[in-house]
C-alpha cells in the first residue's frame, strides 16, 4: 500500500482538513425551473428542479404535502470504467437517502398534491459524488424558488493512513479506511444524511464529524454566493 500522507500533506498537496477547489453556479439549465452546478476538485454534478407540478404516477400523490421525486444518476462516461446506464442498487440507495435529506428542508406542506422533482447527473466522478450532487440540488432548489428551511450542505470526511481527513479524493477513495459522507443544515446544527463504512473508533468518529461539519460551513458560503451571483448578474443586465 502506498503512502497517502507525507509530511502532513496529502497526495494532491492538501492539508488534512482542506477541501478541494470549489466551483458553484446557479441557473445552468435554462429549461428547468431551477438548476445548479457544483464542482469539488474533479467531481462535477449538475442538478435540475422541476415543479411543484402535477405528479405521476398518481398513487404517489399526497393530499397534504408535496412529494419529492429524486434521481441520482451517473453519466456512463463519468468514471474510468463505463457505468452501465439505468438505475443500479447503489443509485437506488443513494437516491433514497438524498431524497429523505432534501424532503426535510423543504416546506412540502405548502404544495399539497404536487410533485417536486429533482434530477442529478454526475458528469465526472472522483469520490464524494453523492455530496456534490446534493450540493448542486440544494442550489437548484433555491434557484427554483421553493421555500426551504435552509440550504442543505454535504461533504465527506474519512480516514486514510490512520488519520482523519476532510473530503476524500482520488487514490484516497480506493485505499482509504473510512468514508463518512454527511449532509448538514448549518442553521440547525443537524445532520440529515449520514452513511459510513470502514472501521473507526468513537474518538476518531467525533473528529471526523467535526471536520465534516466545518467543511459544510465553507461549502454553505459558496452555495449562497452562487445564488446571489445569479441575481447580481440579472440586476446588472437590467441597468444596462
Amino acid at each position: 500500500m502506498s503512502e497517502l500522507i507525507k509530511d502532513g500533506r496529502r497526495l494532491d498537496g492538501r492539508k488534512l482538513d482542506e477541501l478541494r477547489e470549489i466551483e458553484a453556479k446557479a441557473g445552468v439549465i435554462k429549461r428547468a425551473d431551477g438548476s445548479g452546478y457544483f464542482r469539488l476538485g474533479n467531481t462535477i454534478a449538475v442538478a435540475a428542479v422541476y415543479g411543484p407540478r402535477e405528479l405521476h404516477p398518481k398513487h404517489l400523490v399526497d393530499p397534504v404535502k408535496a412529494y419529492v421525486k429524486y434521481r441520482y444518476n451517473m453519466a456512463p462516461f463519468s468514471t474510468t470504467e463505463r457505468v452501465k446506464p439505468g438505475p443500479s442498487r447503489r443509485s437506488t440507495e443513494i437516491s433514497k437517502v438524498i431524497k429523505e435529506a432534501i424532503s426535510s428542508v423543504l416546506f412540502l406542506e405548502e404544495y399539497p398534491k404536487t410533485g417536486i422533482e429533482v434530477f442529478i447527473e454526475v458528469l465526472q466522478a472522483d469520490a464524494s459524488t453523492r455530496c456534490v450532487g446534493l450540493n448542486a440540488a440544494s442550489i437548484a432548489l433555491a434557484d427554483a424558488g421553493i421555500p426551504m428551511r435552509d440550504l442543505i450542505v454535504s461533504c465527506s470526511a474519512g480516514k486514510i493512513d490512520g488519520k482523519v481527513v476532510l473530503d476524500i479524493a482520488g487514490e484516497e477513495d480506493f485505499e482509504g479506511e473510512v468514508d463518512l459522507p454527511i449532509a448538514y443544515v448549518p442553521r440547525e446544527n443537524k445532520i440529515y444524511l449520514l452513511q459510513m463504512d470502514g472501521i473507526i473508533s468513537q474518538e476518531d468518529f467525533r473528529k471526523a464529524i467535526e471536520m465534516a461539519t466545518k467543511g459544510c460551513e465553507i461549502i454553505y458560503e459558496k452555495q449562497k454566493e452562487a445564488i446571489k451571483r445569479k441575481y447580481e448578474a440579472f440586476e446588472e443586465g437590467v441597468k444596462k
Binding site: T92, K96, S104, V185, E188, L193, M196, I200, S201, Q202
Partner: protein, 257 residues
C-alpha cells in the same frame, strides 16, 4: 392496519417516558435465534424478534471474482420483502426499502472485515467462492434492519463450506469445514420519536418514527452507519446513538457467540 390514533398514542407515551408495551427505551423485544433452520442451505438462521420474523440463508456458489479484486471471493446480500410478510409489500422487483435493507446489512458485514475474502479465492482472476446471503422477511412487525443483521451474522456463523471436486465442480455433501469468521458485527438502529431515542420499535411505534440511525459495531469500534428518515440528528444525538449501540451490540453479540 395502523391508524393515526395509534401513532398519537405512541407519541404521547414516549413523551411520558414510556412505551406502549411497557419496555424501557433501550430494551429489545424477546429475541430468539434458531441456527441451521434450513438443511439445504450452507448456513441459515431464523430470527424471531417479538412478532418480527426473518429467515436468512447462505448459499455458497462458485463464480468469477470482480475485475478490481481478482484475489478475493465475492459477498452478496439480497433481501426479499415479499407480499407474505405484510399487507404493504408487493411482489416484483426490489423497491428502495428492500435495496436499502440489503445494502445496510451488506456494509455491516463487509466493512467489519469479519470474513477473510482472500481465503475465498480458488484461482486468482478465474474462480472464487461466492457467499450469497439472502434475507427473507416472513413477518414484518418493525425493526427489520436489526433483525436482518442479526439473522445474517447468525447464518454466516452457521455456514459450513462445500468442497471442490477434482474436476472443479462443487461438492455439497458432508460439509464440515466452517466458514471462518473473525468478528461479529451487530447493527443497532436508534429510532427518534418526539426527540427520544428508542431501540427495536414494533410496527406501531415505527409509524411514529421521525428518523433512524443504524450503527453497526464490532468490539468497541464502529464499522458502518446509515441514517434514514426525514428528521435530523444533532452531532450530540449521533454520539449518544453510538454509545447506546456499542453497549447493546456487545449484549447481542453474547447471544450470537
Amino acid at each position: 392496519m395502523i391508524t393515526e390514533i395509534d401513532m398519537e398514542y405512541v407519541k404521547s407515551m414516549i413523551k411520558e417516558g414510556k412505551r406502549i408495551d411497557g419496555r424501557e427505551f433501550e430494551e429489545f423485544r424477546n429475541l430468539k435465534i434458531e441456527s441451521g433452520f434450513v438443511k439445504n442451505a450452507e448456513g441459515s438462521a431464523l430470527v424471531t424478534l417479538g412478532e418480527t420474523q426473518v429467515l436468512v440463508g447462505v448459499k455458497i456458489e462458485l463464480g468469477e471474482p470482480f475485475p478490481d479484486t481478482p484475489n478475493e471471493g465475492v459477498l452478496m446480500v439480497n433481501s426479499e420483502l415479499g407480499p407474505i410478510a405484510s399487507p404493504d409489500f408487493e411482489s416484483g422487483p426490489p423497491n428502495e426499502q428492500s435495496v436499502e435493507l440489503a445494502r445496510v446489512v451488506d456494509r455491516g458485514i463487509r466493512e467489519s472485515k469479519c470474513m477473510n475474502m482472500e481465503k475465498l479465492c480458488i484461482e486468482p482472476g478465474e474462480k472464487v467462492w461466492m457467499v450469497c446471503i439472502d434475507i427473507h422477511v416472513l413477518n414484518d412487525d418493525g425493526n427489520l434492519i436489526d433483525a436482518s443483521s442479526i439473522g445474517a451474522i447468525a447464518a454466516i456463523l452457521n455456514t459450513k463450506m462445500p468442497k471442490l471436486n477434482e474436476d472443479g465442480t462443487i461438492n455439497r455433501e458432508n460439509r464440515e469445514e466452517k466458514l471462518e469468521i473473525s468478528q461479529i458485527p451487530v447493527a443497532c438502529t436508534l429510532h427518534k420519536i418526539e426527540g427520544e431515542l428508542i431501540l427495536d420499535p414494533d410496527l406501531k411505534e415505527e409509524s411514529a418514527v421521525e428518523g433512524r440511525l443504524t450503527v453497526t459495531t464490532i468490539d468497541g469500534q464502529l464499522c458502518a452507519m446509515q441514517k434514514g428518515g426525514i428528521c435530523g440528528f444533532t452531532p450530540e444525538e449521533v454520539y449518544k446513538a453510538i454509545d447506546i449501540s456499542l453497549k447493546k451490540g456487545s449484549e447481542l453479540r453474547k447471544k450470537l457467540e
